[in-house]
Symmetry: C2
Amino acid sequence: MRSVPLEDATAAARIREVAIVRFGRQGFERTSVRQIAADAGVSPALVIHHFGSKEGLRAACDESLVRQLMAEKARTEAPAIGATIREWLDRPERFGAYIDYFATMLADGSDGGNRLFDRMLGETVAMIERGVADGTMHPSADLEMRAVLITLNGLAPLLLRDQLARVLGVPVTSSAARRMTLPILELYTHGLYTDSRILDAARAALQGEPSTGTPAPSDKGPGNPNRNPDPTRPESSPA
Amino acid sequence: MRSVPLEDATAAARIREVAIVRFGRQGFERTSVRQIAADAGVSPALVIHHFGSKEGLRAACDESLVRQLMAEKARTEAPAIGATIREWLDRPERFGAYIDYFATMLADGSDGGNRLFDRMLGETVAMIERGVADGTMHPSADLEMRAVLITLNGLAPLLLRDQLARVLGVPVTSSAARRMTLPILELYTHGLYTDSRILDAARAALQGEPSTGTPAPSDKGPGNPNRNPDPTRPESSPA
DNA sequence: TATCATCCTAAACGCGCGTTCAGGAATCCG
DNA sequence: CGGATTCCTGAACGCGCGTTTAGGATGATA
């Protein structure tokens, strides 16, 4: 997946590659055209000549990454982008910059990031539909939202890889990912709670409140992580 | 939680408030001191006079947000930061900028962001320990990692709120959060898979591979979301 | 050889940035 | 009253930015 050494590539390709590294590591704004030019061993003017502007260079970088992540289409029916990301995590010295760039694309809401997110979401939806159809996965009251949720959860370690590396004390490579395997599978197999009291309470509460208003009987659970422990409380301003 | 109108506050406070809005909405680099000064109705020189530098202003903004999020200490033993964030989501017209700033702090790995993450992680650990102790939650083979994971999962919708809003078609307020309630509780109650085949396979595979090397018998599951479907594959470069 | 397109650079332009500096206006204190 | 303190501004400085311009070197084509 890119075997030509940087020195042998054309100048335009070289510029794009070093730009991905800089943009991914220090961000678009903090990176100057002069820096990129120096990295690529060319003049700043050539960068503009090839890409029209700094923004054009960014677009080319986006396109390059989208292309590489979408190119896995020809594979099996398994989630393709996730698989490629995992391969990249296996070789951080080579693809670390791509990981960084990928994460900032998603967070910045660039056009390329949107396309990649949509694709990943679609792959997740397909995976869940398959799983529910063949009985290996539980059905859900809201399949789309579940798919969104699982996609988000999968991306969180990537977006917060710095925090993750900090609290774990090791860089986020596949070895760190491996330690996440069991807790993730535990969660996806048995869940977190030992009974369905909180879920039942939330179902009952949301039942009496189809879209807005009319609070239902309250049952504050012992502590649902990350979510409102009391789904019955009406919101202050619908906004 | 801040009731003084902006016009009545001291100039320094006014500057800090409009800076949080700008920094949160368009980022630190894309925001100029002159913009902030204009928003606050003061001269650019005054901004520097009060905060020493643009970086000093950022630090003051960080500190302000950390203080507000940590101030909930006096509450119950429930996750305090999560609760405050939820209140902020209820009133996006007032606290939307804080949400934005909070998210960028976490993503940028600023000192304030690190402190907040550590605090949230601590709250999650305590919650899980309590849940396991009183039998409402399953035990885990790796409690710390599980806590990290759940913390990350809880933050993902915040960091990717633009993607979330885009695919859902509505802004990420508590009404969007409400739709997430059931899928999250489903996941945390019953998990995703109907049986433990994948989890068992992963356990067996990781058993034969205590830390590095010696691959174990393979069992490729039908599709574990977000994780390596084949945890037995040795990694190419440990890095 | 002359022509032409391609690839590339040195130099400069204009601009907006963060910051500094010298001092004005108001308030408090003796 | 006089002097100190606090709060604030207008004007400028120097710098690095993205970009433009004019043209040099190279290699294919006729």
